[in-house]
Symmetry: C2
Subunit: 349 residues, 2 copies
């Protein structure tokens, strides 16, 4: 084992501060990564604060990891020392169950091992995430980062990126489709970029007229203010797909009225109860509500390759590790365009 510096929270009320954690000795199929950047995801905050229950302390968050390969095990192929690589939301899964065999490791029947607060199969205890100097990960869960992408801004692709790319990809959004992205935050801004790159006519749907200009800069063709009932009526029954990134429970019935017959709205943000969905909103027009969780490893690599091809990265604000607690407050307030990324050099100095 080797001791590395990290930033973690001692309990649900504590600020994050510098701590020491152990990383395992590299195994034949492992990759040791020097972490250069780590994105800040809202899930980090939920876990630190134990909002979902079950958090294990100390929590060392971070599942949007970019780094340089320091060392590889003797069975690792396709990855070499010095490569720029990424690690997302998971670092292990059983790889034997049906979902794993279908490249849907996020739904592993044994439970995927989260990059942090997962059950560490090697050292026991729980896993520690990317707010740290180094990480050791089975090469299967290590992603290749296209060389042309700006390394500063790639990290959020590993969670915000795949979370929005996967449903757009799964529901086969393509040229000419009318796609609505509901909510403009870390997830929504990636949703706009992807749907635009896929050739869709993209409508940003928001409660905040102030977000219109930025939505268009990001690639939206139109902006629909969801509180404007006349505008909502004009768009009724016209969408091929809706990506709902709103992170809290809300009334989805007005959005269902926007869908064409047989079309789907996919929820990716609200891991909590929605307000009462009306059966009639689904029955009239044979409409669908679905959900989607990140994406499998194969699809995450496809997403990164797609980003390389279309030169897509996240809009980010770079921060130092020691400002993380203030950054959390700003995430909770929605005051970030659109994702904080930690420059991990600031932890080493």
């Amino acid at each position: 084992m080797s001791e590395v510096k990290a930033y973690g929270a001692a309990d649900s009320k504590a600020d994050l501060k510098e701590i020491k954690i152990e990383r395992r000795v590299i195994q034949p199929r492992d990759v040791k990564i020097k972490i250069t950047y780590c994105g800040v995801c809202h899930s980090d905050i939920h876990t630190v604060r134990n909002d979902w229950g079950g958090s294990k302390y100390p929590v060392v968050p971070g599942h949007e990891i970019i780094g340089k390969v320091l060392e590889i095990g003797n069975e690792v192929e396709n990855i070499k020392v010095g490569d720029t690589v990424g690690v997302g939301c998971m670092v292990d899964s059983c790889r034997e169950c049906e979902p794993c065999k279908q490249d849907l490791e996020q739904f592993c029947e044994q439970g995927m091992v989260g990059t942090y607060n997962g059950r560490d199969k090697h050292l026991g205890g729980h896993t520690f995430g990317g707010y740290s100097e180094e990480i050791v990960v089975d090469n299967y869960y290590v992603l290749r980062v296209p060389e042309n992408l700006d390394e500063n801004a790639v990290a959020p692709l590993l969670c915000a990126g795949i979370t929005t790319f996967s449903p757009l990809n799964h529901w086969k959004v393509s040229k000419g489709d009318k796609v609505g992205v509901i909510g403009l935050g870390g997830l929504g801004h990636m949703g706009i970029k992807f749907a635009h790159a896929m050739g869709a006519h993209v409508v940003m749907i928001t409660t905040s007229p102030g977000k219109a200009e930025d939505a268009k800069r990001l690639g939206a063709d139109e902006v629909l203010i969801s509180k404007d009932t006349d505008a909502m009526k004009k768009h009724a029954n016209s969408f091929d797909f809706l990506l709902n990134t709103v992170p809290v429970g809300h009334d989805i019935n007005p959005y269902l009225s926007l869908l064409k017959i047989d079309a789907t709205m996919c929820m990716v943000g609200a891991v909590e109860p929605l307000e009462a969905v009306h059966g009639g909103s689904l029955i009239m027009g044979r409409k669908n509500v679905a959900g989607s969780l990140i994406g499998g490893i194969k699809e995450t690599q496809e997403m990164l390759d797609f980003c390389g091809e279309h030169n897509i990265v996240s809009d980010i604000e770079m921060i130092d590790m020691h400002t993380i607690n203030e950054a959390y407050e700003r995430v909770v307030d929605g005051d970030v365009k659109y994702r904080f990324v930690i420059d991990m050099e600031s932890l080493r100095n």
Copy 2:
């Protein structure tokens, strides 16, 4: 116009009683039908009692109509005098909009014309349904009834039948699929018959252990009591499709846990708010909730032909027209196996 006897309600509090209504003079594309049987649908009661608002009185219910052709217009082909025919939930639609062109007249952009309480394009006012001696209907909305089926028990296929057949057909239920039918009433009992005939392994899902025996007689391979949490856990993540026929708002989260990854639960009964759906129930396993409304005319004919091929009819209890008010109380109490059909001779005598 010709005056015929019917049974209708004068207002939302009134019992149904004999009244006179007018039927239009037959037009070139019309078919005049002597009604022999009419099914009793829960929607009839909701409309009589104005539960959904907007009822127009007198309400003459009935949209599960079987009869003999008395007369045809001079442009009518494929239907001849003396044929046994059916009329379901609609008697008109624009036939020019996209949904109509796609054989989804139930979602006509102009609004389908309901068999009762619809806007009557011919006589003005509103349409009168099948609790009457005769009806005149555009031949496009007249269905052919396979000769081998027991005419007494065919009527409920026109609403309860197509409502359950259509989603099973649309979501491509086929041999070997594990299909759950939730709720055993007029809709559910048809759902079991269809799913069984399609070759699925059918699980009847109910809160009432007392329904197990009958469910198996109807074609269920297994019965799952939804209040039995251990049994529900055993069936977790195992269903290819769920047909939810429960007619009122309820907590669908436990049922969502039964679905396989990517599978769908389709709502056909509850035209009212569901209890709070949890975003996580959809996100974990990329699950879908959808709705479905009856079916188009083409699919309704396919359903009748399928019934002919598999010798499927409804389980019915035959009643006289003058006992309709008592029958309504029994429908509301769930005291019918599984559909009342009115012998319309009892109105003529």
